[in-house]
């Protein structure tokens, strides 16, 4: 186990800079998830930590040791790839033991270690199979096993669940989390799926365009987003954003509703999550016509046309949701509203 520190990490391809000075401290045994849209630089960061991409600027420290110029094998890391990267011509046993080929261990010790890891992953019965005889989830476990067998200081996961179907993804998510609780290694996990990030991470790193937008616990980034990007990226469905103006302790929404809230005067954006917006208690903030209903069982998502092309999402009761076409007034508690600067997008 080890700490991981990124200091002013920069990556450029020729003149194009894709990472603009990343700073991050990952604690010993911490599970950190990098999340962001495609092209935000999260996988590049992971590959730089792994030593698969050269560092243009800044430093990477693993366990207090700068590893910028070390080969991947010298960094004491193991990586699980998106497409598993398990070798089709080798059995499960050979795949798991592949990471021990260069280890200075006796053959008996290597076999014992493979058996131990296979036991942890519940794969003992599959050790003699070839990858094409395994299901997607089993292949993923082999890939994790190959990483585990070396007992690295840091585990790196590069979107390892994105090739699995929804049900298997949920199952593997749980298994990886249990595995982390069991072995306790430091894990850096990259995904574009914010649900994965929220459910697995000790801390989430949200990235956009080569910059870190926010680092925090799942609760932090959900309840106190640093800016409008984080607010909309985390949470499904996305947070509704309403243009408004703050003046003299009141936020006057452009749609005519006003909410008493402390804020600096000027144009602001009011954010409200669909979970916090409904037909029940709170102050009225939006009026409009229901255009679509999405029943989810205990509750129903309703899409409300607020006029002039605007649309918001709210939650209604699952048993008696309003009809499509019904005129509704949506309410929210003032403490559940988020205020952002209209120009910078930063939270106020």
């Amino acid at each position: 186990m080890a700490t991981l520190t990124l200091r002013d990490l920069v990556k450029a391809y020729g003149k194009v800079e894709v990472l603009h000075g990343i700073n991050l401290d990952v604690g010993d045994g911490e599970f950190v998830v990098f999340v962001g849209p495609s092209g935000c630089g999260k996988s590049t960061t992971l590959r730089m930590i792994a030593g698969l991409e050269e560092v243009t600027g800044g430093t990477i420290e693993i366990g207090g040791r700068v590893v910028n110029n070390l080969e991947p094998k010298e960094r004491d890391i193991a990586m699980v790839f998106q497409n598993y990267a398990i070798y089709p011509h080798m059995s499960v046993r050979k795949n798991i033991g592949f990471g021990l080929r260069t280890a200075k261990m006796s053959k008996a010790d290597k076999e014992a270690r493979i058996d131990e890891v296979a036991g942890i992953l519940d794969m003992t019965a599959l050790l003699d199979r070839k990858p094409n005889q395994l299901s997607g989830g089993q292949r993923q476990r082999v890939a994790i096993g190959r990483a585990m067998v070396r007992d690295p200081a840091v585990f790196l996961f590069d979107e390892p669940l994105s090739n699995l179907d929804a049900q298997l993804r949920t199952q593997m998510r749980l298994e990886i989390k249990k595995l982390h609780q069991r072995v306790g290694n430091t894990i850096v996990f990259v995904t574009h799926d914010q649900v994965e990030a929220m459910t697995m991470a000790d801390r989430i790193v949200i990235m956009k365009d080569g910059h870190i937008q926010q680092v925090g616990t799942p609760s932090d980034v959900y309840h106190s987003p640093a800016n409008t990007f984080v607010a909309r990226f985390i949470g499904a469905p996305s947070m509704n954003m309403l243009p408004a103006t703050a003046k003299d302790g009141t936020v006057q929404l452009d749609n005519g509703f006003g909410v008493p809230m402390a804020s600096t005067d000027g144009p602001v954006t009011v954010g409200v999550r669909p979970d916090d917006l409904g037909l029940g208690d709170g102050v009225p903030i939006i009026a409009g016509r229901v255009t679509v209903r999405e029943p989810l069982g205990p509750e129903t998502l309703i899409y409300v046309d607020t006029g002039a092309g605007g649309e918001v999402i709210a939650k209604a009761d699952g048993r008696t949701p309003p009809e499509v076409g019904a005129e509704v007034t949506l309410r929210a508690a003032p403490e559940n509203l988020h205020l952002f600067d209209a120009k910078t997008g930063l939270a106020i």
Partner: protein, 292 residues
């Protein structure tokens, strides 16, 4: 209460395909005819080779496929001739070593050009490819001069050196290595293998179908090579099989029945090579069609 038995077809009816056969349409007839003619065109030279090898000298110029008086005398003569074994062994040594060298060198260069990023990579690849456009007839003069300068004339090395690595093989292997995901290479790098170990342990097993195809091409090409071995060899002991077989006869008379006999025998190793490696090619095609 009466029990109604379900109506079951008789076993005879199940065995027979009762659906009326569709008459072959014109397209199918044309396709079959073309394929049949193509098959005949391919098989006829081989059939004539075997037929001629079973004929007496006086019957060689008769076009009949079935010899009037079949004989295995030609086989006895060729197999009892010590020179044939010598040429056969020469050809086996040369074709085998050249094939092994091609499998190693072509795949090494192909792998390097495919999986490493370095300046000039593309230019090197184009330069290698461009050599495909130079005919062998143009190359034999510099090859000969090289052999003469280095003292390689009339030696195995002299026969083999031009073919130890080929542009075609490099191109073929590079294209196949493109199908090996970079993640495999990077995973092995993280696991601590050096580049040579990655090439041998990870990449090579994944391109077995290409290696098999290349082995067949190179082996057959060297087994049947004629011009260069003819030029570079002087002594009968260094002849390869095609060169040696062509020496059956003199200016006045060519012993076609002996040449055809030698040719028929010389096809055996090529068939063996094909039978060994074709399963890899077929397996490769099957694997390529499967997901994941």
């Amino acid at each position: 209460m009466a029990v109604v038995e379900p109506i079951r077809p008789s076993s005879d009816a199940l065995l027979k395909n009762t659906a009326p056969k569709k008459p072959a349409n014109m397209g199918q007839i044309i396709r079959w005819t073309v394929l049949f003619l193509g098959g005949v065109l391919m098989v006829m030279p081989i059939a004539y080779m075997i037929s001629t090898s079973l004929k007496w000298p006086h019957e060689v110029y008769n076009v009949n496929l079935i010899p009037d008086e079949p004989t295995i005398e030609n086989y006895t003569y060729v197999l009892e001739d010590g020179r044939f074994y010598l040429w056969f062994v020469n050809s086996i040594i040369i074709a085998t070593i050249t094939t092994i060298c091609n499998l190693l060198f072509d795949s090494l260069v192909g792998y390097t050009l495919c999986k490493f990023r370095f300046p000039g990579r593309y230019i090197i690849f184009i330069a290698i490819l461009s050599t495909l456009m130079i005919p062998t007839e143009m190359l034999v003069i510099p090859w000969y001069l090289m052999s003469q300068q280095f003292g390689w004339l009339d030696s195995y090395w002299g026969i083999m050196f031009p073919g130890l690595m080929t542009a075609f093989g490099t191109f073929l292997m590079k294209q196949f290595f493109e199908t090996v995901p970079d993640d495999f290479i990077e995973a092995a790098r993280i696991d601590g293998l050096n580049e040579l170990q990655i090439w041998w342990t990870v990449a090579m097993p994944l391109v077995k179908p290409a290696l098999a195809a290349l082995a067949i091409f190179v082996f057959l090409g060297n087994w049947t090579a004629f011009i260069w071995p003819l030029i570079v060899t002087n002594s009968v002991e260094m002849y390869t099989l095609p060169v040696g077989l062509s020496s059956f006869g003199d200016e006045a008379d060519v012993a076609w029945e002996l040449i055809m006999t030698g040719a028929a025998i010389s096809t055996i190793p090529t068939l063996v090579v094909f039978l060994i490696f074709q399963r890899f090619i077929i397996r490769g095609v099957v694997m390529a069609g499967l997901k994941g």
